[in-house]
Every structure is written in structure tokens, then in C-alpha cells.
Symmetry: C2
Subunit: 333 residues, 2 copies
Amino acid sequence: MKPLKNKLIRLVKRPVGFPSQDTWEYDFETIDELCDGEIIIQNLYISLDPAMRGWMNEVKSYIKPIEIGDVMRAGSIGKIIYSKNKLFKEGDFVSGWGGVQKYCRTNSKSVIKIKAEINDLPKHLGSLGMTGMTAYFGILEVAKIRQGETVLVSAAAGSVGSIAGQIAKIKGCKVIGIAGGKGKCDYVKNELGFDGCIDYKNESVTRSIRRECPEGIDVFFDNVGGTILDSALIFINRNARVVVCGAISQYNSTSIVGPKNYLSLLVNRAQMIGMVVFDFKERYQHAYEEIIRWTESGKLKSKEDIYFGLDNFYNVFQKLFNGNKQGKLILKV
Amino acid sequence: MKPLKNKLIRLVKRPVGFPSQDTWEYDFETIDELCDGEIIIQNLYISLDPAMRGWMNEVKSYIKPIEIGDVMRAGSIGKIIYSKNKLFKEGDFVSGWGGVQKYCRTNSKSVIKIKAEINDLPKHLGSLGMTGMTAYFGILEVAKIRQGETVLVSAAAGSVGSIAGQIAKIKGCKVIGIAGGKGKCDYVKNELGFDGCIDYKNESVTRSIRRECPEGIDVFFDNVGGTILDSALIFINRNARVVVCGAISQYNSTSIVGPKNYLSLLVNRAQMIGMVVFDFKERYQHAYEEIIRWTESGKLKSKEDIYFGLDNFYNVFQKLFNGNKQGKLILKV
């Protein structure tokens, strides 16, 4: 192989609160030889996820913290351009932990082959990727939604929430979203087909939940935490399930706000359940096929919000948390 | 029947924060005639429970709030002294919602007959009553403990916690308690047979959980809430269950402290589950028989902390919350 010049973004310090730009540094390295079993992936699309913020903290979690000096961890879709691995050939598209960089040299362990047209590749980070898997298993397996139930979804215009809510609709639930701003709420109601959407930037969430869910909430699929979680807890029904999928309002906070209304769980014999999508990996294939079917039949829509260039990383990372995005946030390399 | 002069304690205002003595008033009434189906119970023992505080708030809960002017709600054990109901005869002992009063005139709907020696009557408010049922179903059905798991119990010297922990021991778990003061901790370890007990008044709870539960916590049976719940959440294992049985640290608070570490549920795919014992009433009889067997074989111990006289109600009520009791708190009429 001829030597490749890789451009990469390294984590250089652990942020406190919202990460500043100097949390990361750009670097270059030359890749000039592969060991047996290794491949080189040219990253085409990099996934941006709120979970990235957690991976930067030095705490025990469901995944090891990113070490200082390491390439910033990220899911990605790429094309194999060199292979010394029998299972992969040059030109294959793969999905895996490619990191925020131009090329990823790796053994094949954290990579799977995907079959997709070039135009569909971004969807493999969105509704057909970890995002879709999180929504699918979260709403079906963790929340265990049942037909006719009322499901409330926070960050409903977001990558996971938008899909979780649509799956609940497909399964015959009444689905209300919470999103920020009229544009997002219109999208959630008119394009995604939710039964209603609460604009947390312009309405009282508590009062609006009372209006939109007069029969109470059976499932709250929460990506936000904070005061929105507290408002939802007021209205949960007996035997309700609150899925703690994320807490984007808290990830950059130096002092987490716990749900003050958690005793509503006791009164209502309800559960608050944490989930990590990796636990369902044996069944990704099944979910993938079902989501493809729903997508092809027009029942499930998804939107990718794609930005260009590694140099844009910090700007796009900020969009994860400032509400200034719609659907799945992706960086095209 | 000859007219009876009843002495009763009425709720006369809704407390904010810790109830002051003028939350209640003593009153008298004359009972002189029974309708068909009614009985008069002479209350012998009245149950004092932290839940009483919640029943005084005018909020939607698992049970209707006590109305202003009503007799203060309480479980009780009593003897039937007049009956116009075929199912009950004079002299029968019964358990039910007798209220904080000398006599209770009622139809039979909220009352069950109990067979007990006079000396065992208080136990029918403790380990053989609602208290024991709460511990039994909470630890076996809600927490679903499994042999070999590590179970942490807060308020471990209290009425419910002491029994929940002992049942977990009987089922082969490692059980650590949390209680206030050396006397209670010694009781929990030496008399109840817990594997350890953390003195929250004299140790750092977080540091002591780390020491006592080096393998983490599989089940946290929580009666306390607040900072103790937050400490426990730090150490929960994957798939842990946190049973929200109560939150005595918060019942008199005007501003509830939510569990700041609730995202530990996400990371550990754990659950926080609320319970209300009434949901298990179809199976009380089974639990009752099993608790009797454990008690008779010496495997399960319980303690009743009995005070005398209706006039003592407010003093004894205070003991529910100031930590100044051991085991089940009972007022003998």
C-alpha cells in the first residue's frame, strides 16, 4: 500500500460542563503498513450522538471512557480501502467505531459489513443504525408498549425520539411528543404523524401534558431529563414505564438535577428503567429488517441532518446540545 | 346496646412540612344505635406508619386523602363489642382501618377477622400485618431477589426494613442494612442477623457502602430516599432493582430532593420500581402463613415498640420521623 496521511481529532482534556473547543486537537499521522487481519476504512459519514459527552468523563459507565490522547470515539460508516482480512475486501461498506478521523486502521472486531446503496449510507447511522436500534428496543422491549396506550416522547424531533414515537404509532398507541420550537413541533405532528407535540420553548410543559394526555401517560420515553422528566412524572398512570434512554439536559451540567417527583413511581406502582442498546445486539438484525420494511412502506420516516468536513466537528458537536438540529446529526468526511 | 362514648382524633388542617400538634383535635361522640350490617370495634392497638403523613396531603395518591374533619386514618386491631352483621360476632378480633379512636363503628367491608392469642395481637399490625406484607411482597415480588445477591436495606431497624432484610437472608442473599445509631446497628447485625449495618449518623454512607458491598448492590430496598438513595445508586450493579417502598426523609419536606444519581439506572440497565402493598392483597394469606412459619421456627424476628393511650398520639407520631423508635410503632388504646 502507499502511505496514507490520516487527519484525526484527539481528546486532549476532560471537559467540565460544556466542552470548549480546546477539549480536542487536530492531528495528523501516516499509516504505511497493515498487520495481518487489519483493514483500513475510509470514513464517509461520522455519527454525532449526545452519548459522546458521557464517554469523555472519567467515570465507570457502560463503556470505557475515551482516554486522553485517543481519537475521539464515534460511530461511522466507511469504505474499506485496504484489507489484510479475509472477511473484508476493498470496496466493502462497513459500520463501526471509526472515530472522528479520515481513515480508521483497525482489526475487524468492532466493524460489521453493510449492504447499502451509496445514497442510503447516512441512514445506516440513523434509523438503520444504533439510533434506530435504540428507538426500536427501547420502545418495544424496555417500555413494552401495548396497543391503545398513551406514549409521551421527549426530544421527539431528535434522532431516537422521532423513531421511537413512530414505532409506537405503528403499534397502535396514542403518541405525544415534546420538542423545542414551532418548526420541530410541526414536523413531529405533520410529517411524523404524532397525535400532538408540546413546544417546551413556548408552552408550560406541565399544563400541556395535562391537555394532550387527559388519560395520563402509560409510557414516557425520556431523552431529556430535568424539569421535563419531572413534569411527565406528575401524569404517569398506574403501572407506567419511564424509559431512561438519555438525559441531554443534564450531560453538560456540573450538578445533575434528580427527578423530584420520583415518588410518583411509588404511588403509581410504576418503573423507571435504564437502557443501553448494546444489550440487544444479538437481535439487531431482526430490528434492522423490520425498520427497513416500515421505511419502504412509508410508515417510518427519518431525517438526517448532515454537515460537511472534519473541520466542522466542533460546530456540529455543539448542535447536539443547543437544540439546533432536526433528526440524526451526521458529519460527512 | 347501651350508648358508647367514643373518643377520637380528627384531622383539622392540612400540615405543611412537619405537622404541628394543632393538625389534629380530640373529639367525643356518642354511638347509640347500629344499622343492619354494622359492627362496633373496640380498638386495642393502633398502627403508626410513615404513610400517614402522605394521607394528610390533598394530592392524588394510591389512597384518597383524609378529609378535613375526618377521624385520623390508621390501621388497627380491635375486638368486636356489638354486631349487627352475621359474619362477625361479639368477641371476634379484627384487623382493619379502625382509625385513631377508641371505638370504630363500621360496616364490615374494611375489616378482616384474625385468629390470635391476645398477646400476639400487636404482631398482627407488625410482621403479620401490612408491615410484614409490604416487606414480603416488596423483597420477593417487586425486587425479585435471587440467592447470592447483595441486598441493601435502608431503615433496616424499622418495621418494614427489618423484615425485608431478614427475608432476603432466609433466601440466601448477602444483606447489609443502614440504620441510625450504634444501638440500632447492633440490633440489626446481632439480633436480626444482617451481614453488616451502616450507621448513617456516624459514618459516611457512601464510603461505608463501598466497604460493605465490594461486589456492588443488586437490590436496594429503600424506605428513606434523599441522600441515602443517592449513595446507593452509585453502587448498583447491572440489572439492579431499586424498590421505592418509601421515602421517610422526604415526607415532611416542603421541597423533595430527587435522586441526582438516577442516570446510574441507565448506565447499569437498572430499574427503580414503586410499590403499594394493597396490590398484593389476593396473596396476603399465603405470605401470612409463610411469615408465621418463619417466626415459629425462629428464623424471623420482629419487635413492636408499644406506647399507651390515645392522649399520647402526637408524641408517638413524632417518633415515626425522628428516628427514635425500633421496630413497629404501635399505640395501645
